[in-house]
C-alpha cells in the first residue's frame, strides 16, 4: 500500500498536485477527498473525474492535513489522500439516500459490504443534514454484526447546517453515503475515538423523542430547555448548541449527541444520532483546554500498543475545533509524531469509530482516527 497526501487551497493547485503525484510509478486507485463547499465541489469533481480512481469524498466543516510542515488545519481547501493498493482487497460504492431512512441507508451499505467480503471493514461518510449517524451504523450492523469495524464521519458545511454532500468521482449527492469496504483478512484496520467531554449540571430525562429528534426534556420543549440552560437565543442554535452536546448516561457509559438542527415550530431539536426516549441526559462541555491532554494521552497509548500504517484518516468533530481553537492542533501534532505518516481528514458533524470493547458506534465531540495498512 502506498499513500500520498496533500492539501490544496485552490482548484488549480489540486489539479497541479494530482498531475505531479500521479505517474507511472504511482497509480492510485483509491482517493480520499475532503473539500470545503466554498471551493466548489463540482469543480473538485471535475478534476477528479480525469483520473481512474475510486473517490471517497465529503464536504467539510474545515479540512485537516498535516505532514509536519504546515498549519494542519485549513478552510476553503481540499485535503486529499491518494492510495495505491491491491484492488482485490477493497471496493467502494455510493448510495443515494433520498427518500429512505438513515437505517435503510445503513442496511444498503451493510448488505453490500457483507456480500463483498467475509470479514468486511468499512469506511463511511454520510451526507445530508438531519441524517441519523447511529441509525446508519445500526443498519450496517444488521448485516455485519456488531464485531466488524466501521470508521467515518458525517459530512459538514462550514457550520451552516444547511446541506452537506458526499461524492465519488462521478456523482455529488445529498443525502446519501459513500462507503469503502476492505477485506480485513488482508487489510489491517484499527483506530480510536476519544472525547474527554464531561457532563455538567443535573440529570434530566428525555420525555419525548423519536429517532434523533428530541421533542421534550423533562416535559418541557427541548429547544426551550436548551435556550434556558445555556442562556442563548434561537439564532445561536445549532452552532453554539453543537459545542454543548447532550450526554446520554446509560449503564455506566456516556455517549455524546450534538445538535444538528432546530425545528422552531415544534420547539424540537435534531441531533446527529439517536437520543432514545426515556434516556437520562445532562449537558456537557469540555472541561477546559486541558482536555487536549486527555486526547493526547489516549493517542499515545494507542500508538504504544499498535503499529501505525500508511493511511491515516482523521474524523474530528467540528465542535472540538470550535471549543479548542488552535489548541486542537496539538492533538494532530502528537498523532503525526507517533505515526510518522501524514494525516488527512476533516471536521465532521459526527464520527463513527471504536471506543473500548463495545464495538463501533456513532459519536460526537470526538477525535476519531482510522489507521489502515496492508497485513504482512
Amino acid at each position: 500500500m502506498i499513500v500520498k497526501a496533500f492539501s490544496a487551497s485552490r482548484i488549480g493547485t489540486l489539479e497541479f498536485k494530482l498531475q505531479e503525484l500521479i505517474n507511472d510509478r504511482f497509480k492510485p486507485n483509491l482517493a480520499f477527498v475532503f473539500a470545503s463547499i466554498d471551493l466548489g465541489l463540482d469543480n473538485v469533481l471535475g478534476v477528479l473525474k480525469k483520473y481512474p480512481m475510486t473517490v471517497f469524498g465529503a464536504s467539510t466543516c474545515g479540512e485537516i492535513f498535516f505532514d509536519g510542515k504546515n498549519e494542519g488545519i485549513f478552510n476553503n481547501s481540499v485535503s486529499v489522500s491518494l492510495v495505491q493498493m491491491d484492488e482485490q482487497y477493497f471496493d467502494s460504492i455510493l448510495f443515494d439516500g433520498e427518500g429512505i431512512s438513515s437505517f435503510e441507508l445503513g442496511k444498503k451499505v451493510g448488505q453490500w459490504g457483507a456480500k463483498k467480503f467475509n470479514s468486511p471493514g468499512f469506511l463511511v461518510t454520510i451526507g445530508g443534514v438531519g441524517a441519523n449517524g447511529q441509525e446508519v451504523v445500526e443498519g450496517i450492523q444488521e448485516y455485519t454484526g456488531k464485531d466488524k469495524l466501521i470508521f467515518g464521519g458525517l459530512a459538514g458545511d462550514d457550520a451552516k447546517f444547511k446541506q452537506t454532500y458526499i461524492f465519488n468521482n462521478e456523482k455529488l449527492i445529498s443525502p446519501g453515503a459513500v462507503a469503502v469496504v476492505f477485506d480485513t483478512s488482508k487489510i489491517e484496520m484499527k483506530g480510536l475515538a476519544t472525547s474527554g467531554w464531561v457532563g455538567i449540571g443535573s440529570d434530566k430525562v428525555v420525555t419525548k423523542a423519536r429517532g434523533n429528534i428530541v421533542y421534550t426534556i423533562d416535559n418541557e420543549p427541548a429547544l426551550r430547555v436548551y435556550k434556558d440552560h445555556l442562556n442563548i437565543l434561537d439564532e445561536d442554535l445549532p452552532e453554539i448548541g453543537v459545542e454543548y452536546p447532550l450526554m446520554i448516561k446509560k449503564q455506566g457509559r456516556e455517549i455524546l449527541r450534538a445538535v444538528n438542527g432546530v425545528n422552531l415550530e415544534e420547539e424540537s431539536l435534531v441531533f446527529a444520532g439517536t437520543v432514545p426516549e426515556g434516556s437520562t441526559v445532562t449537558f456537557s462541555t469540555s472541561p477546559g483546554f486541558e482536555v487536549v491532554e486527555h486526547t493526547k494521552a489516549d493517542i499515545s497509548e494507542f500508538f504504544d500498543n499498535f503499529e501505525a500504517g500508511p493511511l491515516l484518516l482523521l474524523f474530528s468533530c467540528m465542535a472540538r475545533h470550535k471549543a479548542l481553537g488552535p489548541i486542537i492542533l496539538d492533538e494532530i501534532l502528537l498523532a503525526y509524531e507517533k505515526a510518522k505518516e501524514p494525516i488527512c481528514g476533516f471536521f465532521t458533524y459526527g464520527e463513527i469509530g471504536i471506543s473500548g470493547e463495545t464495538g463501533c458506534e456513532f459519536y460526537n465531540e470526538t477525535f476519531t482516527l482510522a489507521v489502515i495498512s496492508e497485513k504482512e
Binding site: I200, G201, S202, D228, H229, L230, N231, I232, I240, Y244, F283, T285, F289, A323, G325, P326, I327
Partner: protein
C-alpha cells in the same frame, strides 16, 4: 509565551551587525511565528472564555435551581414520612442488615419507653435482655436472604413482667440495584385480639360440649319418656284382646285416647327441643304413600267417627306408588293438620286431598289439602298461626287443648321437604290447611337380586309360621308387649334382659332372628351385636359356612347417627317400637329377599 519573547529579545541583543542578523533572521522568524501561534492561542482562549463563561454560569445557575428544587421536594417528602411514621399507632422499625436498629417511630419509642438515640445501632437483645429473640431473628434473616417479605410473625414479648402479643410484617428494604440493604418491620399489638381468641376458643369448646350434652340428653329423654308411653299403649292393645265388660272397654278407650294425645304432645315437645338443638332428624328412604295414608286413616277414623264427622282421603291416581322421602315426617304433618281439623270441627266433614302439582324426571311435587267444615280462622289470627307457642286465644286452648307447637313444627318440616304451608279459611264456615312437598321418585335401577339359596328360602317359608326369636329388651312392659305380638303369630320367643345375656343365650341357642333393643344396662345393643357377629364369624370360619343371623334393632325413635352405628356394628335393619307383627314380617322378607 514570555519564554519566547525572552528568546527573541536575547536573539535581537546578540545581533550586532548585518552578518549576525542574517544568521539569526531565520531563527528570529521562527520565534516570531511561534509567538504568533502562542498569541493566537491565548487570544482564542480569552475570547472563548468570555463566551463560554456566560454559558457555563447559566448552566450552573440552572443546576443550582434544579438541585434546590430537588432538595425542597426531598425535604417535604422526608417531613411527610416523618409525620406519617409518628402518626402510625403500629410500631415501625428500620433495621440494618446486622439486625441493629436504624430508625424507629414514636409508637415504638413509647412502647419500649426508650428514645431513638438509645435504640439506634442496638439490637433487640440489647434492649430487651429477657426476651429470647433468636426465632424472630431467624425470620428476619430469611427476609434478608430471600428478599421477600414475611407477614404476621407472631411473638410474645415480656415487658414489665406482662405478656404482650405482637404480630409483625417484616419486609426487605432494597436499593436501586435491587439489593437488600435493610429491613423494615411493622408490628401490631394484638394482645387484646389474642385474649379474645383464647376466650372464643374456650367458649366454643364449652358450647360444643353443651351441644353434645344436649344431644345425649335428648336421646336419653326421648327413650326414657317414650318407653313408658309405648308401654301404656301396648298394654291397652293387649287388654283389648282379652274378654272385657262393656264398661271396661269404655275405660280402655279413654286410657287409649289420653295416652295417644299425651304421646303426640310429648313428641311435639321433643321435636321442638330437637329444633332448638338443631338436631331435628330427617331421613330419605323409599316408602309407599298408600302406607302412610292408611296409617293416618287408621289413627284418625275412630276419632272422626266419635264426632260423627265424615272422614275421607282422596289421592290422585297419577302419583307414583313409591316415593323417596321421610314417611314419618310426612305422616306427622298430615296428622297434625288432620288432628286440628277434627279437633276444631263439630259437624260436617274432614277431607284430605292429595294432588300432583309438578313432575320432573327425578322429583315430584305434591299438594296436600285438609278441608274441614269447622269454626274457621278469623283474618287477624292467620298470621300468628304458624308461630310457635301461639294459639288463637287462650279460650281456644282450654276448649281444644294443644301446646301450640304443632303448626310451627309442621312449617319447619314442610320447609325441609322443599315445600310451603298455608291456610284458606272463612270464619264460621271452615278451613283448608294445605302444604306442598317435594319427593324423589323411585330410582330406576334396581339391584339385581341374586337368586335365593336354600337357607333363605327355608327362612321365608317359616317367617309366616314359626321362627325362633331372641328378644333382647330390658324393659319388662315392652318385653311383654313384644312377646305377645310375636307368640300370637306362632313364633317361639326367648328373652334376654341385656346385651350380656343376649350373647350368652345366642352362643348356646339356635335362633333364626334377633330383635335387639339399643339402650340397655350392663351391655348395650351395639356392643352385643358386635360380639354376636364376632362369634358368628369365628364359627363360620371353623365350619366353612356363611351363616348370617338377621339382627333387627328395636328403636324408640333413635337419632340418625345411631342408625349408622347400628349398621356398622352388624345389624341388618331396624324397626321402631312398638312394632306390628305384619311390619316385622314385611321387613324380614325384604331383608332376606333383598
Amino acid at each position: 509565551m514570555s519564554k519566547t519573547l525572552e528568546n527573541i529579545f536575547n536573539s535581537l541583543n546578540t545581533i550586532s551587525d548585518w552578518e549576525s542578523f542574517q544568521s539569526y533572521r531565520k531563527e528570529i522568524g521562527e520565534q516570531f511565528l511561534e509567538l504568533k501561534k502562542e498569541l493566537e492561542s491565548t487570544q482564542f482562549k480569552y475570547q472563548r472564555s468570555s463566551k463560554e463563561k456566560n454559558i457555563i454560569y447559566s448552566l450552573l445557575n440552572k443546576t443550582s435551581q434544579d438541585l434546590n428544587q430537588a432538595a425542597e421536594s426531598l425535604k417535604i417528602q422526608a417531613e411527610e414520612l416523618s409525620t406519617l411514621l409518628s402518626a402510625i399507632p403500629a410500631f415501625v422499625y428500620f433495621k440494618n442488615t446486622d439486625h441493629t436498629y436504624r430508625l424507629v417511630n414514636k409508637a415504638f419509642e413509647d412502647f419500649l419507653g426508650i428514645r431513638l438515640e438509645n435504640i439506634k445501632d442496638k439490637t433487640i437483645r440489647n434492649l430487651l435482655p429477657d426476651y429470647d429473640s433468636s426465632s424472630y431473628e431467624r425470620k428476619e434473616k430469611k427476609v434478608l436472604v430471600s428478599g421477600d417479605p414475611i407477614y404476621n410473625v407472631e411473638e410474645i414479648v415480656i415487658k414489665n413482667r406482662s405478656k404482650i402479643w405482637l404480630s409483625t410484617n417484616i419486609a426487605p428494604v432494597k436499593n436501586i440495584n435491587n439489593e437488600v440493604v435493610g429491613l423494615v418491620g411493622v408490628s401490631y399489638n394484638i394482645t387484646e385480639r389474642k385474649k379474645h381468641e383464647i376466650e372464643l376458643k374456650k367458649a366454643k369448646e364449652l358450647a360444643e360440649a353443651g351441644t353434645r350434652a344436649k344431644s345425649e340428653f335428648l336421646a336419653n329423654v326421648s327413650h326414657e319418656i317414650r318407653t313408658p308411653m309405648y308401654g301404656i299403649i301396648g298394654m291397652v292393645e293387649i287388654m283389648k284382646q282379652t274378654p272385657l265388660k262393656n264398661e271396661q272397654i269404655q275405660h280402655l278407650g279413654a286410657i287409649e285416647s289420653s295416652a295417644g294425645s299425651l304421646l303426640i304432645l310429648i313428641n311435639d315437645v321433643l321435636d321442638f327441643s330437637k329444633i332448638e338443638a338443631g338436631k331435628l332428624d330427617f331421613e330419605i328412604i323409599e316408602f309407599r304413600l298408600s302406607d302412610v295414608l292408611k296409617d293416618v286413616e287408621n289413627m284418625l277414623k275412630s276419632r272422626a267417627d266419635e264426632k260423627e264427622l265424615e272422614f275421607k282421603i282422596f289421592s290422585d291416581k297419577a302419583i307414583p306408588e313409591t316415593l323417596r322421602g321421610d314417611p314419618h315426617r310426612l305422616k306427622q304433618v298430615i296428622l297434625n293438620l288432620a288432628n286440628n281439623a277434627i279437633k276444631f270441627t263439630e259437624k260436617g266433614l274432614v277431607h284430605i286431598f292429595i294432588n300432583k302439582i309438578r313432575e320432573y324426571q327425578q322429583f315430584i311435587e305434591l299438594k296436600f289439602e285438609v278441608k274441614d267444615t269447622g269454626i274457621g280462622i278469623p283474618k287477624r289470627g292467620r298470621e300468628r298461626l304458624f308461630k310457635e307457642f301461639s294459639q288463637l286465644d287462650t279460650s281456644t286452648t282450654r276448649k281444644f287443648g294443644g301446646t301450640g307447637l304443632g303448626l310451627s313444627i309442621s312449617k319447619l318440616l314442610t320447609n325441609m321437604m322443599n315445600g310451603k304451608i298455608g291456610v284458606e279459611s272463612q270464619f264460621g264456615k271452615g278451613s283448608t290447611f294445605w302444604f306442598t312437598a317435594e319427593f324423589g321418585k323411585e330410582t330406576i335401577e334396581k339391584n339385581i337380586t341374586p337368586p335365593m339359596n336354600k337357607d333363605q328360602k327355608d327362612f321365608i317359608a317359616r317367617v309366616e309360621k314359626d321362627l325362633t326369636v331372641l328378644l333382647v329388651e330390658d324393659n319388662e312392659i315392652n318385653q311383654k308387649i313384644a312377646r305377645f305380638n310375636l307368640e300370637k303369630v306362632g313364633y317361639k320367643v326367648e328373652v334376654a334382659e341385656n346385651g350380656h345375656d343376649a350373647v350368652l343365650k345366642y352362643k348356646d341357642g339356635n335362633f333364626d332372628l334377633v330383635l335387639m333393643d339399643i339402650l340397655m344396662p350392663v351391655m348395650n345393643g351395639i356392643k352385643a351385636t358386635e360380639r354376636i357377629r364376632a362369634i358368628e364369624r369365628y364359627r363360620n370360619k371353623k365350619t366353612m359356612s356363611k351363616k348370617h343371623i338377621p339382627i333387627v334393632a328395636l328403636t324408640a325413635n333413635a337419632m340418625q347417627g345411631d342408625r349408622e352405628a347400628c349398621l356398622a356394628a352388624g345389624m341388618d335393619a331396624y324397626i321402631s317400637k312398638p312394632f306390628r307383627q305384619k311390619d316385622l314380617e314385611a321387613l324380614l322378607i325384604k331383608l332376606v329377599a333383598g
